[in-house]
Symmetry: C2
């Protein structure tokens, strides 16, 4: 039986159900979104009793499939007001999959001010008072919990920002080294977990039965196909691939070359300090100092895009320093100091706050005159204000939109209240369409409609391209496969089909690839319906005004995909 | 010719047009909303170059009609994102009407950081650098300007909160005593004026030709009818009426008796400290100390609901201390100290920040643990933070919704981002419908659907009642008549018709009462269309969740007018 664990924070109970009774065949994002859509009043306050958190490994998580360690965490978002699925790596998805736990649902609110931790074992779960954990940063918290439980557990937790219900608060998941450095960053799910008074979930996989594979031979074949594809790619090849070397930051140079690297609060598309923070700079610094590249951030990963950043003495600072962090806190704030950026990343992970939202919020605050662009120490001070939860910290921690409002700033790069990612939509227009139309607010992983060539600047066909990519991601996020895999394993080379074949082999289904794309589409439809009930319409699928009026250098282009076309394509 | 004065802040030009060419027969709210709807992109940022401010006296302003001194100020609101007409008294509407200036339109943005004042005279207008006025509170500002120009000008101005583009910033207008104590409070129009770099408008009525009355005899008849009606009412009778004695605070006792007085952030409907801040307490305190009740806040007013509040030494503190201020900063924050409340009112007027939005924001901050309910000194400190524009001040000054977000508070009494007025919608349900459906966010003056009896608690017919009341206000706000007049002069006693007759007599029109109600309805339709283009739908016409789930004592009722009924009635 694939289990659904329902945890009632008001009653203090943990109940196990058969997930397939109510939500047949659902997993990952298709499960989180189904439960939020069916059980949460779209008009409710995201931090109120009616909201729920759903934590669900993908359908392939727990199997031996490569890069299948992704966890979906869903809720109504306090940042965007939309439904939200925030996706995270680490070790929890693998363990939950092996434990045959398809989902954990956190419901209701405990007595005000109380704090709990949840221990999830193969044979049951238990809520425990956690007053001793109050206010702890994720790093100290995890040390304390590992001492108590063991190194073999996975920990899903919030830092002080989640406890303080800041709209950009994350949910951290420990990586294979046991560090709380993998974050479901977007949309403030950490604040929802804080509102529920849940500080940490300890997932202990001891005695896990593992996933029962219906057709082992078929699974093995498909699994081998996908693995080979990754092994043979120059990007994803283990140890020698570009990702293994430069991590996700591999992308900074091509983005800068295209003129799409957001710099100075999306004022420029190229950053003069790029060579100090790009993939090579990161790789060289880590290598020189004896840190780690080619590091595993998620269970079953063979791409190894993670890294461990160390200081000049070789001491651990943070893991993993990634592109989206380096753009948001780096070029977008005019900061080109890797050590400072690593320190900021560490602070954000410890407080449990989204580096992307925080970077964009700080850039908007800089635009509002709070600090100067390029002031690395100033940015570190501001992040520490978030940790202290001072009024300044509450402004920044509430996200880019609130920061813009508080400082009367007009250039605020958000859609549906969520900040954009590291690709200027005036240059990579397919991503502009994704930012505008995603059910999650401005989100690049929702549909990475980019090819990194001049054609990205052509508005033609980008609505359709984004739509197809978003539908595909509805499937990918459901099965628990890493987003980076889709860089190599595509629909036209059998890569995606091999994933579908593995799902069929695991569960004994006979679905076609078309069925699975339909499934992805249905996930999005479900999410869209929730958002519509919450009051969102096509009119919310718009980029901020300045993206259509202000040209970004050096291409001097604006976002000019017609909204009529966008609305039309997304109606289909 | 009724003139429209267009002031371009980018070019520094002032151009006069014939208003009737582009906006025939429009005045007050029908002019502000027509211009915003026609000329402002609904998707634009409220503080960006595309927004405009329109300042328009009502159609009867400038005539001798009693209580016709209301000024409409319109823009896209930075607080709500909707179209906004904020209505204010003082002397400006009379003067502009006499100068035959139907509207002033402030367009575009000047160079960043520059500040101007605008001198409007009968024969033309002029923009002047105003760096010397930077950062001044409204009181010092007005003193300085009166010294320079004379006591006979009317001054429309912003305080530091407007300069700092806070979403709750007001536009102040001087009263007949020349004090900046009349405020277009709602919706943050002061922030828009701040974004335009316009610190003050000096309206000098010297040599004003006055309004040409087409049919003097008919005007006199109708004017006399309305005046008599007010003179004969126990509420509005000059000098002896209830309003003259207790001002708008007359209403606190009946609201409290009904159980609709918002107390402790809308947790209770009755306030145990009511007798210390109600109409009688205010009247007695003012009388004892030699302040003024029966005071005129607006030109041509005979009701005299204003007052001058003095301290124990008889020294001026503020004018006018009104019900909405006393509920918002008083009962709603658990504060029952009149002197403290008068000080808060004075501070808010000086900084140029809405007392209603600020009171509700402070109550939400109290709910979030920033201060304790009832802490008057704490509340004063918080308001001073707004004046300093510290991070805390920026949170509170950005309004109740942002404050709720920053502090993770679930009980946030706003609709479309604007805080509710001093009538709990779970008890006075007609006002609940107005809060929900008004084109302006939660606003009581948009349609005062209350009768102050038990029937207010009955959900039946309230959607229709609010709708009719809102349509009527579309007309009232167009002609510049004070909201309080409609308490006595109604549609079923000829009062409203006398106003229509005056408009006909003034302009030589032959419109029927039905035409004028249709006019009011059209104003709302225009506003609704703007909001729809901006992305608002019927789904935004909702009260916050807790108003439907949490019973308010002592009636223990929730807001239960069905949204189906509301949507249906407002579709007609």
């Amino acid at each position: 039986m694939r289990k659904l664990l329902r945890v009632d924070m008001a009653k203090g109970t943990c109940i196990t159900e058969d997930v397939d009774k109510q939500y047949p065949n659902a997993g990952g994002r298709s499960l989180t979104s189904a439960i939020i859509a069916a059980e949460v009043n779209p008009h409710s306050h995201a931090l109120g009793a009616s909201n729920k958190i759903v934590i669900a490994p993908g359908l392939l998580s727990g199997t031996s499939c490569v890069n299948s360690g992704r966890l979906s965490i869903g809720a109504k978002s306090p940042l965007t007001g939309t439904i939200k699925e925030s996706n995270v790596g680490g070790t929890a998805a693998l363990y939950l999959g092996k434990m045959q736990i398809a989902g954990i649902v956190i419901e209701n609110l405990p007595a005000q001010g109380s704090l709990f931790s949840l221990l999830v074992k193969t044979d049951g779960a238990e809520l425990m008072p956690a007053d001793d954990l109050k206010g702890l940063g994720n790093y100290d918290l995890v040390e304390k919990l590992k001492e108590k439980y063991s190194d073999r557990v996975s920990i899903i937790s919030i830092g002080p920002s989640g406890e303080n219900r800041l709209s950009s608060a994350t949910v951290a998941v420990t990586d294979p080294d046991g560090r709380p450095c993998r974050h479901a960053g977007r949309g403030g799910i950490g604040a929802v977990m804080g509102s529920k008074g849940l500080k940490a979930i300890i997932v202990d996989p001891a005695d896990a039965p593992g996933v029962t594979i219906h057709d082992r031979a078929a699974f093995k074949n498909a699994s081998k196909f996908l693995k080979n594809m990754l092994v043979e790619s120059e990007y994803t090849a283990p140890k020698t691939g570009e990702y293994a070397k430069y991590g996700m930051n591999l992308i900074m140079d091509p983005v800068n070359d295209l003129g799409a690297l957001p710099s100075y609060n999306y004022r420029q598309g190229q950053f003069e300090g790029v060579s100090k923070i790009n993939g090579k700079a990161l790789y060289n610094t880590i290598k020189e100092r004896g840190g780690k590249y080619n590091h595993s951030g998620c269970s079953t990963c063979i791409i190894q895009c993670s890294n461990v950043y160390v200081d000049m003495e070789g001491k651990y600072v943070t893991s993993s320093l990634e592109y989206e962090t380096l753009f948001a806190l780096g070029s977008n704030c005019g900061i080109d100091d890797l050590d400072a950026l690593a320190q900021m990343d560490r602070l954000c992970d410890d407080y449990g706050i989204d580096t992307m939202e925080t970077g964009c919020a700080i850039a908007v605050a800089m635009e509002g005159g709070v600090k100067s662009f390029g002031d690395a120490n100033g940015a570190i001070e501001l992040i520490k204000e978030i940790g202290k939860c001072s009024p300044m910290g509450r402004i920044l921690g509430s996200g880019t939109e609130v920061t813009g409002k508080a400082y009367g700033v007009v250039r605020v790069p958000v859609v549906k209240g969520q900040s954009m990612a590291g690709y200027d939509p005036r240059v990579i227009k397919g991503l502009g369409v994704t930012y505008a139309t995603s059910t999650m607010g401005a989100d690049h992983t929702a549909g990475f409609a980019a090819v990194f060539s001049e054609t990205d600047r052509d508005p033609k066909g980008k609505a359709r391209m984004s739509r197809d990519s978003q539908n595909l991601m509805g499937f990918i996020d459901t099965i628990g496969i890493c987003f980076a895999v889709t860089d190599v394993a595509k629909q036209d080379n059998g890569g995606v089909e091999s994933m579908a074949n593995m799902v069929n082999a695991t569960y004994g289904w006979k679905k076609t690839m078309k069925d699975y794309i339909e499934l992805g589409k249905n996930v999005l439809a479900m999410e869209k319906e929730f958002n519509e009930k919450a009051g969102f319409t096509a009119k919310d699928n718009r980029l901020p005004e300045f993206m259509r009026t202000e040209k970004v250098s050096p291409n001097n282009t604006v976002f000019d995909v017609s909204y009529d076309e966008i609305d039309e394509v997304f109606e289909q």
